[in-house]
Each structure stands twice: as C-alpha cells, then as structure tokens.
C-alpha cells in the first residue's frame, strides 16, 4: 500500500487536523467523537444541516461544511458509518434552536446509526429529522436488497438544502425539499481500479488490465457486473441510459414522526425523467481519475441529454464524492425546478465548493 499517510489508525484524525489548519476561517473540529462544524455555529434560529458517513469520500462531507451547505459533518472511520454518539455530538454542537436535518446515505450502517442518533437527540429535546438519499440506479431490486445506495445526489442535496437553511426555511420544509431532491436525482458509477482501505493495506478487489467494474458504490465494494473495458463514450452511454431510462422507483422509508415520537413508514416514488426536464448534471471522479477524463465523459453525457430532450442547466465536474484513490467515475442527473435552481445558485463558501462570494 502506498499512501501519503503516517499510520492507518491516524488517517482520519490527522486529515481533519490538516483541514482545520487550512480552513480555520470556516471550520472548527471536535475530536473524540469527531465532528467538523462551521466556525460560526450554532446559527440562531437557522436549521442546522448535518451529514456524515464513512471517511474516504473526501471532500464529502467535511469539505462541504460552510455557508450555504452543511453545518456539520460527522466523519466515521474509512468507509465505516460514524457512531450515534458522534452524530448526537454534531447535533448538539450546531443546533441553533430550529432543529437539525440529518442527510443520510442509504447504507445499513449509516441508516441504523443515524436512526439511533435521531432517537437520542429527539429524546434530549433537539428536533431532528433524517432524510435518506437512495439514488443509485445500479441497485435494481429494492425488495431483495437494502434498497438503492446513496451516492452522488447527496452532494447536490447538501448544497440545495444548505442554501435553503441559509434562507431560513424551517425544518419540515427543508426535510421536504431534501426528499424532493432525492427522488429527482439518479446516479450510477463505475471503476477502473480498486481502492485500498488504509487499515486493510491491500486493494479491496482486483481488476484485470482490460476489465472494469460497472454499477459500483462508493466503498470499493464490487459492483453490478464486471466487464471488458470500453471507450469513454460507450461507458458514458451505458450509465447515462440506465439513469435516463430508469422507471418510477418506489420504496418504503422510515422517517421520524415528531407527533408520535417514533418512526413512521413513508412510501416514496422517484418520477422518471421526461423530455423537457431541466437538469443539474454531475460528473464525479472516484478519486484517481483526472478531471480531463471527466470532461470527456461530460462531453458525451451532454450529447446524450440533448438527444433525450433533457436540458442541462447547471453542471458540476470534479472529484466530490470519491472512494479514496479509486479510478473511475459516476454520473448524477438531478431534475430541478426554479426553486432548486435559485438555491443552487445562491452564495456558497465551503473548502471544496465556492461561488457567489
């Protein structure tokens, strides 16, 4: 294993320390349990946005803490969901009295830990909602799986909901907005190489010199299928068509019922894309793929969207939700309305994304 690290055990801690040294104007950290949060939090009367998950997806989530995006991030060990006490600590550090929205990627571990954290926080009088992101169309069958994984749409949801918090939306309205972003976003990813989890020290999987893994998640886990390498255009078309042609996807999720003080089941359905839709297109590097290659993917993606009558109104191209040093890319398409678009464009200042200020 070759990495710029000291000891595998110190990776998460030292990386946070470096972030704080570099971005002390924006960020503070709490250690054990680890929380990265806005230097100016808590923000009185403003809904706090918390996300978290395993580390190794940098800049997500710590790099998205700042004005117009997350209020706090709870970074777990590499590829391992953070713990409930950690999420609770995050909620306590940033709650400004208007409650906390947890944006939760749909992985068994993240869901269970965030649910326990929400139970604890609500019992301590902090109003907390969890909204799931489950946008990975590579997961076909939600009856026989833990449902679709949460991937690229997470970044877009964190941005749009963070802007809404900045504008003073209340907790229920932000939760609703987050759900809307989630059901209107779809993603798919692929890998050319594996990544290496520092504590493990060797690649999670081996790919031959002419093989690729398609339909991967973001944890170096094997994907939907392994196949022969194809050209960037073919790969882009494969992923884009799976996303664009994905039908209405329904599933039952658990959301916190503040009246009943318990979880309730909610059925939600992703509406399929249709000609005339306006999109944010997000082409993401898994970490080791250079941005020059992402633009080659974006080029083909733009052509395909055009052919389907889909209008890309904004785009994001770069490494934003990664799997350590894995080579590969993912595509996320999010159908937006005027409200989402205005929120997307509003001022943003985080270590990883910045505009309008």
């Amino acid at each position: 294993m070759k990495k710029l690290i000291n000891s595998p055990d110190d990776v998460v801690r030292e990386s946070i320390e470096g972030m704080i040294l570099a971005h002390g104007d924006l960020l503070k950290a709490h250690y054990e349990p680890n929380v990265i949060y806005r230097a100016d939090a808590p923000l009185n009367g403003q809904v706090a946005l918390v996300s978290g998950g395993g580390s190794g997806h940098e800049p997500m989530h710590g790099g998205f803490v700042g004005l117009g995006m997350l209020t706090a991030a709870a970074p777990g060990e590499v590829f391992t969901s953070p713990t409930p006490d950690q999420m609770l600590e995050a909620a306590k550090l940033v709650d400004g009295g208007a409650g906390v929205l947890n944006i939760v990627k749909n992985y068994t571990g993240d869901v269970m830990n965030f649910e326990m954290a929400a139970e604890l926080a609500n019992s301590e009088g902090i109003a907390v909602r969890n909204i799931l992101i489950d946008d990975d169309v590579a997961v076909k069958d939600s009856l026989y799986t833990a449902g679709r994984r949460g991937v690229g749409t997470t970044v877009l949801a964190e941005r749009i909901c963070g802007a809404a918090a900045e504008r003073g939306y209340d907790l229920d309205r932000i939760a609703d907005l987050c759900r809307q972003v989630n059901i209107n976003g779809r993603s798919m990813g692929m890998a050319l190489t594996s990544c290496t989890v520092p504590a493990k020290g060797s690649p999670t999987f081996e790919l031959g010199e002419r093989e690729m893994e398609i339909g991967i998640g973001i944890h170096g886990e094997p994907g939907q299928a392994r196949m022969d390498m194809k050209s960037a255009d073919e790969i882009t078309e494969m992923m884009a068509l799976e996303i664009i042609n994905d039908g209405a996807y329904s599933r039952t999720v658990r959301e916190w019922d503040s009246e009943a003080e318990d979880w309730k089941e909610v059925e939600i359905t992703d509406p399929p894309f249709a000609s005339g839709d306006r999109l944010i297109a997000f082409v993401n590097s898994m970490g080791g793929t250079p941005v020059s290659e992402l633009y080659i993917v974006y080029r083909k993606l733009a052509q395909i969207c055009d052919q389907h009558g889909l209008t890309i109104v904004r785009n994001l191209v770069g490494p934003y939700i990664t799997s350590l040093e894995m080579q590969g890319a993912s595509i996320t398409l999010l159908k937006v309305d005027d409200e989402m678009l205005a929120l997307w464009d509003s001022p943003l200042n985080t270590p990883a994304l910045r505009w309008g200020m």
């Binding site: 713990t83 409930p84 992985y107 076909k140 069958d141 493990k200 999670t204 886990e221």
Partner: protein
C-alpha cells in the same frame, strides 16, 4: 452457572480472537462488502478490552451494557449498532446479576437476538449474522430443555452457530451491503455470521474453563 469473572474472561478472549482474526474477517468482507468488518470489530473490542479492568467489580448486566455502549460508540458501520444493541439488550435481561443460571443465559441470548432482529430487520436466510445467531439461541434452548449442562448447551449453541455460518456460503444476501451484489454474493461466507459464531464459541469456551 456462568460467573461474573467468566463473563469478563469471555469478553477478553473474544477481543483477542477478533484481533487475531481481524484480517480474515476483513477478507471475507472484501469479497461481498467493503473490507472493514474485521477492522470494525477489532476497533470495538479493543475498546471493550481496555475497559475490562474498570469492570472488575461490576455486575454482569452493567458489564454487558457497558460493552454495548463501547461498541456503539466505536464500531460504526452496520456491525456497530447491531453488536451494540445485542450487548445492551442482553445486559438488560440480566441486570444486577453476579452469576447466570441456564435460564438467565437463555434470557440474555434471546434478548440479544431480539435486539439485533429489531434493529436490522433481517431473518434467517438473509445471509447476515442472524443466520448464525438464531440457530445458536435455538440450539442452546433445545439443549437446556433436554437437560444438558450450561457448558454442554453453550457448546451445542456454538456448533449450531458455526453450522449456520457455513450455511451462509451459498446464500444470496438480502440485507446489508452484500445485498447489492445479488447473485455475486453467492459462494462467500457472511462476515457478520462468522464473527457471531466466534462470539458464541468463545462464550462456550469461557464457561467451560471456569
């Protein structure tokens, strides 16, 4: 009877076994998950082990609940809440006890099992730790009903857990990260079932060593 010091010995022994099997469990998880199960479990049980000295004069219920809290706050991932809940619920069933009868042990195991099922919503055949855990609890119950000693019953429980673990090999996962693999999750042992089987085996061994 299983004494308070046997319970401490069990946790200690399991922590050592997990440390030893860390790579193996991680390799199992690399095949159908994200290559961290051994790392996660080891992080949690090293924390548990480091706290054992402070538990020397605590009752069994407290020891188990403390173990659950330690796991909850250090493991993360899927196994953190699951093993955390297992120990917390198990501890709640044997509050204040300094020693456990055969029935106490059954309550403890059943409480843990129910907790994991509630938390994870999985059932036998989903290719999870339940595949090892439920046969273990059922095996223990059957053996005590048949009049076997606690040590014998725990040994049968461990055998059943290992059989359950082995039975995960051909299964298609329906829960957790491995479920994303569909057909490709076949022909691999479930990492959580494997660590769970080790948990029951070390319990049986610790009870036997007295």
């Amino acid at each position: 009877m299983v004494t308070q010091s046997q319970v401490l010995a069990w946790l200690d022994r399991y922590a050592d076994l997990i440390a030893e099997q860390r790579e193996y469990l991680t390799e199992l998880d690399a095949a159908i998950g994200d290559a961290d199960h051994g790392i996660n479990m080891n992080r949690g049980f090293q924390k548990v082990k480091s706290q054992l000295p402070t538990m020397a004069d605590k009752d069994i219920g407290s020891i188990l609940k403390n173990t659950g809290m330690a796991l909850l706050s250090s493991v993360g991932g899927a196994s953190g809440p699951l093993y955390g809940t297992l120990f917390m619920r198990a501890g709640m069933k044997v509050d204040k006890k300094q020693a456990l009868t055969a029935d106490d042990l059954l309550a403890l195991l059943q409480g843990g099992l129910e907790g994991v099922i509630q938390r994870g919503k999985s059932q036998v055949g989903d290719k999870t730790m339940i595949d090892a855990f439920q046969p273990a609890v059922e095996g223990y119950e059957a053996a005590t009903h048949a009049g076997k000693s606690v040590v014998e019953a725990l040994t049968e429980a461990a055998d059943a857990a290992e059989a359950g673990r082995d039975a995960t090999l051909p299964l298609i996962a329906r829960k957790g990260r491995a479920s994303y693999l569909g057909e490709r999750s076949k022909d691999h042992l479930d990492p959580g079932a494997t660590s769970l089987a080790m948990l029951i085996r070390t319990l049986a061994e610790s009870a036997a060593e007295g």
